[in-house]
């Protein structure tokens, strides 16, 4: 098991965002996390990264408990994240943003390769490589956030709504990229509102409801679940 989350409780001040969730992410798989607004999806990812501290529970990554490990070390351990709301460095250029993505990587050769790779996937970023990231359009920023996460060649990639704000063609593209990354060995924990697409790429899925896991199972089964279809697939 690459990642195991056990009985995780998180609260913000008095607000209890996660009320004891448990789930697992198997190495080499894509796991989808879906749920309504405010269900606690982003909180889950942020807690895994170390940005938010858990009240109680365990997060185990490659067999070590990482509950108290600071975020920058977690990144060093091979986890990286595409954060919600893009969070690009607006005053850095596109290229510099991408370079920051490779910060934790030692070899510059690898970084160069990754960069070429990212530019291949998102030609728009290459076009704009010396534009300040703050002036990119929403979708361009989303591409940049993705590209930046890919620069570190993570073993586990956490994605918080990567398709948000992308044009339909790019949404397709993103999901095929997700598949590709996964095929090349990266495990992915995917939070998506586009449940339809998410379930189509994922191996297994969890449904979060107000801080608790309401449903879980293989993605294909979930896609057939009438409850899920009604709430998250809009049918």
């Amino acid at each position: 098991m690459l990642l195991a989350v056990e009985n995780l409780h998180v609260s913000y001040g008095g607000i209890r965002a996660l009320k004891g969730i448990s789930f697992e992410v198997e190495e080499g798989k894509i796991v989808a996390l879906i749920g309504a607004n405010g269900a606690g999806k982003s909180t889950t990812l942020r807690t895994i990264c170390g940005l938010v501290r858990a009240q109680s529970g365990r997060i185990e990554y490659k067999g070590t408990v990482v509950n108290k490990v600071p975020p920058y070390k977690i990144v060093g351990m091979g986890i990286s994240m595409v954060p919600e709301g893009r969070r690009v460095f607006t005053r850095l250029t596109v290229l510099e943003n991408l370079e920051m993505g490779a910060y934790s990587r030692g070899s510059s050769q690898e970084a160069k390769e990754s960069l070429a790779n990212v530019f291949k996937r998102f030609p728009r970023l290459q076009e704009r490589k010396s534009q300040l990231a703050g002036t990119l359009s929403g979708g361009e920023q989303q591409m940049l956030a993705m590209g930046r996460a890919l620069m570190s060649r993570p073993q586990l990639l956490l994605m918080d709504e990567p398709s948000m704000g992308l044009a339909p063609m790019l949404v397709e593209e993103i999901f095929s990229i997700i598949r590709e990354i996964n095929n090349s060995g990266t495990t992915i924990l995917l939070v998506e509102q586009n449940a339809h697409m998410a379930l189509s790429v994922a191996g297994s899925a969890y449904v979060l409801e107000t801080g608790e896991i309401a449903l879980s199972g293989p993605a294909a089964e979930m896609a057939d679940n009438p409850e899920v279809r009604k709430c998250y697939l809009g049918e």
Binding site: I34, N37, G38, E140, E161, G165, A167, P168, Q193, C231
Partner: protein, 255 residues
Amino acid sequence: MPVLLELDHMTIRFGGLIAVSELNMQVEEGKIGSLIGPNGAGKSTVFNVITGIYTPTRGKVTFKGQNITGLKPYAITSLGIARTFQNIRLFKNLSVLDNVKIGRHCRAGGGIFGALTRHPGIKREEKTIAEKSLSALDLVGLTAKKNEQARNLSYGEQRRLEIARALAAEPVLLLLDEPAAGMNPQEKQTLMQMILNIRQTGVTILLVEHDMKFVMNISDCVDVLDYGCKIASGTPSEVQKDPAVITAYLGKEVG
């Protein structure tokens, strides 16, 4: 139907980049118009020009027959245009309710004098502000969180708060920049119904959205931008069959 908003040869450039080029576009009163196009096509920029955040390099914006090019954002809002932001911009440390009340700023008039005296006129005004704000919150389903700080809402809730805040201004024209981003299909469904209801009250809506199902379902007419140029315009069914739109944006026909 009379034209409410008209863009005339609107062009804007940033340094060497022409973000929007010679755009002519109309929004008819009482309709739901949509503006779609690939990422970076210039849609948000169009919104920014309409609301006065950018001044166009060339061209003219007419609203209710009045030339509003170059007016300050607050003046444009007072004329009846309200908007939401693609990158959420709430008043994060204020309560949800106060956020909406501020949205109503342009529909009230109390100043320092009124604040100090709280004369009956002001009391009445405050009461209306509170009522209208609450009903806007109700519309987006955030009544229960009205005393929460805006920063504590989840992403999707924040989006809905943005809409409530814009609605509180009782706009003639409502500009929504990707309102459905970050919502799940069910929530989108609710949102769609909400927008239709708003239109029902006589508000004209211009929408930027990447969810094609959403756009095609509720728009009366759709304009398509690519690299700052308009490549198509028409009813949803016309547009989604347009080959230029398919190659540039949709990738395949949507149904």
